[in-house]
Subunit: 257 residues, 5 copies
């Protein structure tokens, strides 16, 4: 589990509250039920309205992944693939049938199984690439849910503030309450901006990033399956796959080897 | 019918009004005829001005679709195609003539009919892909109408507020009415931001999303027609089409099988 | 002539003025010469500065087209092309020499003439596609002039308002004139936002849309010329071209047939 | 020399100052040294920080080009190329050696020289296209310098204004100076917005546009060199090149012919 | 080392502080611990939350590169490659084994080594291009960290200011402190905007630019390795590589030759 999002979102709210305390404010005065209901309720409603019920369901599942999802570097799959390529070259493709059972990576299992079943290399690649495209689209939609929420939240907050100010302006008769009422009106904007920047947008960015990392690993797998199927030299396979990795994973892999 | 948009837009307005009531406001004070005429009237006018009369007509049709349109998952069409592929392989392409009559999916009917008529596979694919491109363009334009309205509405609201403030500033002689007049001026901004974020933008997003889902299903159909025409093994056809689906539809399909 | 832009821009200003009157304002108080000179003058200057003199000249020509331009649906050209394909198939390409004289569509005339002159089909397609690329670039530049003006105008308005407020703040000695002076300062922002949203941006959008529609028709023509030159069956030509049209033009064409 | 930028930027500032005078303002009160130092100094510093020293040097050179650069329409190069094609067809490629000496267009000279030297047509095209790509990248970077400056300037201005207001708020003891101090604080925003919209952004747009026009001419040259080298019929060459031009240059060329 | 970023960021802050002093402000009054903690702390937290821990680690490494990184013009590698091409043509590819040891450019060493090892030219190119793609992605992510921080910082600042104003509005009882409290509230916005525009955004832009320059040099290397391997004439190699350079590097190279 990569804890960047848990640390970042938690730390973000902690810093904001801490700064409020340092300035002599009372964080509990920031809690105002109507503003919270408005900002969170209306943001979720209008974000939901921009997609389908299934999209919203997937977004909830993605939320969990954003906080607790494991990030497997693409480099981790390279030794496994090189091992399979070695075995396939020495003992033939069919010998991979048992080896595949111990592998975690779903796409690698699917690709090798398709190869064992005797499918055409071009066909195997097309099927695996379709998986990547379908995954990328699904991930994009899940990330979009949170990016959209991050775009709506501040303006929903402004709606709350303007409604509050209208309320204030029509009740100017009680000047001693003005300060409190205006402060309350601004809390909607505060929560709109805060929820967008400390929650929705970072979560959306995180999901986009996790998707990129997953796709990068899947691309390594696709090249690997293709190399295994063509019976390439394991040393060449390694070279080819390593060149697909970012520099820091290349050196980590070199050290591990 | 996927009710996400009906729930989302309805719920969004309900939450906004509810929050206003919770804060002690009177929702009826938000209703101000000149502001509503300005924000909705001028937004629709300038949005209309950016396209053609036909675009506006199509946008009205799309509005209905956004709220009541049925969302057919791409997975639903897979068993039908696999069935056709099976029949075509056993009895020949011409045997599909009757089977086609029971199919709902227009593109599938068109593709299979073109195949039965003996058209070249490459030609059939080109025609079906042209349909997808034409549909995508038409959908994009319909969604753009609402995205544009969502971009114009807040600034139209600001026009109303500035006009109102100018009116206030030239009538400073009656200070007892100032609060009410300023409040009234801000209602135009309120309605501009609210109509954009709780209606126009979500509807635009929804139409873009429905178009994506339709296009994804059409892509499955195109691959399916191509596979049927080439007389591929139904098991391979299924494999190929399933790899085009997002992960959660893949498993739903696996459970159903 | 498609009157969407004339109706939209005219209606937009009418609604804004109408709302001002409904609120008890006096539209004539919105007319302030220095603000109008600033907003329109400076916007046109800085937009001009971002291109060439020829671009500005073309933008003026495009302005007329935006308001009065005829929108010919791509579907209208299909029967003509099918007729030509039929004639060419029966009587040979040279027989089109007379038929071409009655055709309005410039690109169709050019394409068929090139085909009659015996040019290679690949060469004809390349030339026609170059025309489309050149047209698309020219259209994009014309639309950009108005989009740019729409981006500059509100900020130019803000310049006017800030200059006005600075003027006010340095003349606080006459409090009885403050309201009027501040109101005057805001008129620059009002005109900046209003000219952008009710004129420049809709006109820019309209020109982009007209260009899209023209290009879509040109693509139908290119496919048509290609089909005529290859001596394709008129029924197949029709099928091919119809698949390039949006759904509602397809059905309109089907009804007309 | 195309004077659009000189006229536009000069006219923009003239209109702004003129409007200030018309409103009864004193333009000299807009000149405030600290605001000018802040807005221009900090904008240039942070823009510089986003690139390399060489980028900044190139941007200065591009600035001169934006104001005084000559705009040569792509059409101007067509007759020259057709002439060369004619000569090459009649007398052979080597006969162009003398003709090339009188040509201004660097890329045309380079392309024809490469052809005379007996290089492979594919190789010549690759080299000429590499030139276009390299030029487009360099132009993009130069334009980006000014676009970036245009994006930074208003926010730098806001920094100045907020610093000024902080200064004001901590010196509320002298109310008679408040108006003047607040006015001074707003001058930083004024200069930030004004420098961005009347200088940086138009210059950035102009450089992008000049680059587009240069690239369009270079594309005509590349097609022309290719046609010369293949010994194409001059009439066909002319047809081919003319189709690459925008409509108004096509007709200008037709009139000139 | 290219000092543009060190000069630009340092100069930017110096100019801002200098302007503050010129206006009679006291820069030390801009230092307010809670605002600084909020703006820098929360910005870093939420930026971290949008990626992985490894991304944040890479961003720190990139920060150093942004300030002290050496910019090697692509032109510098041309003479080396031409030299290698010359040697390879005269003495054969294997003769490059020693020459490679003196070369700094990692990609050139890798490419030539792969060529010496007898790998297929197509395979060598694919591996080198994979390196470029992997590097571009890693660079993009590092730059994105700072661009994201630059997008979050101003809104985090606004959160601080709204919290401060809420605090002020609920403590209107002590009017003599109002000015100071409001000033303090605005410092959060000041630091948010200042950190974004004078640090985060320029650093993000710088990293994007360094990446572009690195990639441009890598593309020259790839073409060079390909030419060496194909045994091309050194003069032609030089011509080919020079055409990939921007104009000012071409002339610098010509002067040096």
């Amino acid at each position: 589990m990569d804890s960047a999002t848990a640390i970042g979102v938690g730390g973000g709210f902690a810093v904001i509250i801490g700064a409020n305390v340092m300035e002599g404010g009372n964080p509990s005065s920031l809690i105002q039920i109507p503003a919270l209901v408005l900002v969170f309720g209306a943001t979720l409603c209008v974000t939901l309205a921009g997609g389908t019920l299934a999209d919203a369901k997937n977004a909830v599942a993605a939320l969990k992944k954003a906080f607790t999802g494991k990030v497997t570097p693409a480099a981790d799959v390279v030794p496994t693939i090189v091992g399979l390529a070695d075995k396939a070259r020495r003992e033939g493709l069919l010998a991979l049938e048992d080896a595949v059972k111990d592998i975690d990576d779903e796409l690698l299992v699917k690709g090798v199984s398709l190869a064992i079943d005797g499918n055409d290399p071009e066909e195997v690649r097309t099927i695996l690439e379709s998986e990547v495209i379908a995954k990328r689209r699904a991930d994009k939609q899940a990330a979009k849910f949170f990016s959209d929420a991050g775009a709506y939240a501040p303006t929903i907050g402004i709606i709350g503030t303007v409604m509050g100010l209208v309320h204030v302006l029509e009740n100017l008769a009680r000047p001693e309450e003005l300060g409190h009422l205006i402060a309350a009106a601004f809390l909607a904007t505060l929560w709109g901006v805060m929820s967008a920047n400390a929650m929705w947008l970072p979560i959306g960015n995180r999901l986009k990033r996790l998707s990129e990392l997953d796709v990068a690993r899947m691309e390594v797998v696709i090249e690997g399956v293709s190399a295994i199927q063509s019976g390439a030299n394991p040393r060449v396979v390694r070279h080819r796959l390593v060149s697909l990795l970012p520099a820091e994973e290349q050196s980590a892999l070199a050290e591990a080897a």
